[in-house]
């Protein structure tokens, strides 16, 4: 395990330790694996989307309002997360904390509306066991939601560490990695928004 540290002020804090550099690279590769994971879930969803058995069609239950709120919350959270990392680069712990907490708040809001939406679907008679199409929907969107949930806990843990230890090469690498994760979830959501909701609604109404 190499342990070289750089003190060049032009190097971002999170890249200054060898461990930080390795962890960030490793996390990028992990995101590659996550792409494969979500790609598989998307493919599964696409294959099953018309197999609705006796249940309702997917687009039938989708609601534009809830969808737009969720999308707005998550996209904004990605932006605030970016601001947080920007503040971190300026060594502004307070700014970092503030923007990250806002990010978490937006994430929680997203989750709230997603759960509401799921409950609504279940109320309308569509749950994971209704048909292959709904199984595909709940598992794809649910996996994304589970990732967001995990992300909220994870970011919280990292923020506690930043609060306790301040910004060091170690903590900043952690913040940076969680931010990569958060942006990634945003990207996945854009695909869900398009491939699941928009296409579902277009196919049903159009």
């Amino acid at each position: 395990m190499a342990h070289a540290e750089t003190h060049d002020p032009n190097t971002p804090l999170e890249y200054r330790s060898e461990t930080g550099r390795l962890n960030i690279l490793g996390f990028w590769i992990f995101l590659g694996a996550e792409v494969a994971l979500f790609a598989t879930l998307f493919a599964t969803y696409m294959v099953l989307t018309h197999r609705i058995a006796d249940g309702p069609a997917l687009g039938e239950l989708f609601e534009v309002k809830s969808l737009l709120i969720q999308t707005f919350l998550l996209l904004t959270s990605s932006f605030t997360c970016g601001l947080a990392v920007h503040e971190m680069r300026r060594h502004n712990v307070k700014g970092l904390m503030l923007w990250m907490i806002i990010t978490l708040g937006l994430g929680l809001g997203f989750l709230y509306f997603e759960i509401q939406e799921f409950l609504h679907f279940i109320h309308e008679g569509a749950n994971i066991g209704t048909s292959a199409a709904w199984s595909g929907f709940f598992v794809l969107v649910g996996t994304h939601g589970a990732h967001v949930t995990f992300g909220i806990f994870w970011v919280t843990m990292v923020l506690i560490q930043v609060a306790k230890r301040g910004l060091t090469p170690a903590t900043s690498a952690k913040v940076f990695i969680t931010s990569l994760y958060w942006h990634f979830l945003d990207v996945v959501w854009i695909f869900i928004f398009t491939a699941v909701y928009l296409m579902g609604m277009v196919m049903h109404h159009g």
Partner: protein, 646 residues
């Protein structure tokens, strides 16, 4: 599930297994206590993050699994030796071929190779450890726990019996009720996490931890093959993760991905399974190719022929491996166009593979070939693997495959590639790097017996199966009629199987014999090696591998140094303090929680799975808050270890 049905009962063989498991456990506990080995076990092994020790633990586990899978194989061969045999009933036979396949691929072949990669790759690239030593321990323990979870199925709850491919809807609740299939799902799922982490870990290790001067095109071929394998793992394993999760949802939470009800789609499982499954085949063959490349070059005393072609062909194979999965079910009726395309892509894999064969042959051309046991296994590989290769091309021809599919022709083909490729590779690698791991060689004379017994047994076992296949014998039947005429060839095949079993026992005896009597190596270069792992002064490298990180100037750097008579000698002023990662018990504990989680899901006891899940998350949080930067090995300690005076 009723409590009195918790343990599998009613079969004398299983009682025998119960007794031997209990006796072995008691024996181990007694030994550890009697000789006060508990602390040694904990500090040296259970908490280690040293890649060499983790590698050895992988290999030991894999050899145990080879034994288990081998016993399964011999039970099957015994049942099939004569027509209408009554040795096993259908259910029992189905369980055995399911566990045989699953164990051999997931818990034997892969960990065996990952074990060798663990031991060798950091040494070959001149690194002190992997990029994430802690994560490496997590990988091992999740693999190990997955394997244990899968293996206890045959005494608790019953083994899975839907085949290692677990096609739906056969594997659904309606057609395969009970915990058996859940063991398959959770054993593989937990072990799969470890494999994915290994993929990331070694990819970063190889990309970032190479010694100065070792450019990508100066890396040893085994390291190259590991790099390519890791890339395949990273893109293939998430597919398995999803597929297993979806089937688990079907079985536990009533979803309808692959079920008969709710318009589920059984073909989707087959596609997902093989989208992972075919790359998996290359995950277990490419490292073996790498091993053969090292060995053939070493014992021909010659540079590898066509180094760059070897790399490009491997990259081509890796790419193709994701484009051929449909050939596992040409008979699904996907239409002529689809079958034609996948026929051609599959045959095309033969091209780079053929190139590799010729490059190996021409590595020996103008060489000085020494017939050591690793070299014998490598030559055996070439001769036997080609048979698997050409029959693979035959199977790739979709129109003909309609006749081979689901028969012993197929069974024989994949054993020819997986045994002559992967298993020969594992044995060759194990013997070749044995002195690196344990400080002495395995006895060569006994080793040659093992080679000939195994290779001849292998051909006697599997060659007849090609003909059985052409004679219409389907795979996975537990018996056959007298009139079928398959009796004699099956008997021959069974005899060959037992020969391989004997060879395995002789191999284990050789380990014992060599442990007792083998001459200990005095240098680090047991075979006249070419790559950096042989450049350490002591036979077994110390825990920090290299007192001084070597500087590499070309391919086969160590060999060229030796040829030029310029092997650097370490002096006291080369030594600086060395940074190393600390041991940790957390990976082991995390693995144990995974076991609780998996076991809970197997029996549909959600409370238990929940507790296990909490435990896993707890260990993750603990790790997140732990700021352990490792420690420094002092100059004095290094000097002492290296036996250099000041």
């Amino acid at each position: 599930m009723k409590w009195d049905e918790f343990f599998v009962t009613g079969d004398p063989m299983i009682y025998g297994a119960d007794v031997s498991i209990v006796l072995t456990m008691v024996g181990i506990l007694f030994y550890l206590t009697r000789y006060k080995k508990w602390k040694w076990l904990w500090t040296e092994w259970l908490t280690t993050v040293d890649h060499k020790k983790l590698g050895i633990m992988y290999i030991v586990s894999a050899v145990l699994m080879l034994f288990r899978g081998g016993v399964d194989a011999l039970l099957m061969r015994t049942q099939l030796a004569v027509p209408e045999a009554k040795f096993l009933d259908s259910q029992h036979y189905n369980e055995i071929f399911t566990t045989h396949g699953t164990i051999m691929i997931i818990f034997m072949a892969m960990p065996f190779l990952i074990g060798i990669i663990n031991v060798v790759v950091p040494l070959q690239i001149g690194a002190r450890d992997v990029a994430y030593p802690y994560l490496n321990a997590v990988s091992f323990w999740t693999f190990f726990i997955g394997a244990m979870l899968f293996n206890i199925s045959f005494v608790i709850g019953g083994s899975p019996s839907a085949g290692w491919t677990s096609y739906m809807p056969l594997a659904s609740n309606e057609l395969s009720p009970g915990p058996g299939q859940n063991y398959y799902l959770w054993g593989l799922q937990i072990a799969g996490i470890g494999t994915l982490l290994t993929g990331i870990n070694f990819l970063v290790t190889i990309l970032k931890m190479r010694a100065p001067g070792m450019t990508l095109f100066r890396m040893p071929m085994f390291t190259w093959s590991s790099l390519v394998t890791m890339v395949i793992i990273i893109f293939a394993f998430p597919i398995l993760t999803v597929a297993l999760a979806l089937m688990s949802f079907d079985r536990l939470f009533g979803s309808h991905f692959f079920t008969l009800q709710g318009e589920g789609m059984d073909m989707l499982w087959a596609n997902l399974f093989w989208l992972w499954g075919h790359p998996e085949v290359y995950i277990v063959i490419l490292p073996a190719f790498g091993i053969f490349s090292e060995i053939i070059s070493t014992f021909s005393k010659k540079t590898l022929f066509g180094y760059k072609a070897m790399i490009w062909s491997m990259l081509l194979i890796a790419g193709y491996s994701f484009l051929v999965w449909v050939h596992h079910f040409f008979t699904m009726g996907s239409g002529a166009a689809v079958n034609s395309v996948f026929s051609i892509t599959t045959m095309a894999i033969g091209i780079p593979t053929g190139v590799k064969i010729f490059n190996w042959l021409f590595t020996m051309y103008r060489g000085k070939i020494q017939f050591t046991t690793p070299m014998l296994w490598s030559l055996g590989f070439i001769v036997n693997f080609v048979v698997g290769g050409v029959t693979g091309v035959m199977l790739a021809m979709a129109a003909a495959d309609y006749q081979y599919h689901n028969t012993y022709f197929l069974v024989s083909h994949f054993h020819y590639v997986l045994i002559a490729g992967t298993v020969f590779g594992c044995f060759a690698g194990l013997i070749y790097w044995y002195p690196k791991m344990f400080g002495y060689k395995l006895n060569e004379r006994i080793g040659k017996w093992v080679f000939w017994l195994f290779t001849i047994g292998f051909n006697v076992c599997f060659m007849p199966q090609y003909f059985l296949g052409l004679d219409g014998m389907p795979r996975r039947v537990y018996t056959y009629s007298e009139e079928s005429g398959w009796g004699p060839l099956n008997m021959v095949s069974t005899l060959g199987g037992f020969m391989m079993g004997i060879a395995f026992l002789v191999l284990v005896y050789n380990m014992y014999y060599s442990f007792r009597f083998a001459k200990r190596e005095t240098t680090g270069d047991a075979w006249g090696g070419r790559t950096l792992e042989w450049s350490t002064p002591s036979a077994m490298p110390p825990f920090y591998n290299f007192a001084k990180i070597p500087e590499v100037t070309g391919l086969d750097h160590f060999w060229r140094q030796k040829q030029a008579g310029k092997v650097e000698k370490l002096t006291a002023k080369d030594i600086k303090k060395i940074h190393m990662p600390s041991n940790s018990g957390v990976p082991f504990i995390m693995g144990s929680f995974f076991f609780v989680l998996g076991f809970g899901f197997v029996f549909d006891w959600i409370w238990m799975a929940f507790l296990g899940g909490i435990g896993v998350i707890g260990t993750l949080i603990y790790r997140s808050f732990e700021y352990d930067d490792g420690y420094y090995v002092s100059v004095e300690e290094v000097l002492e270890t290296e036996k250099i005076s000041k």
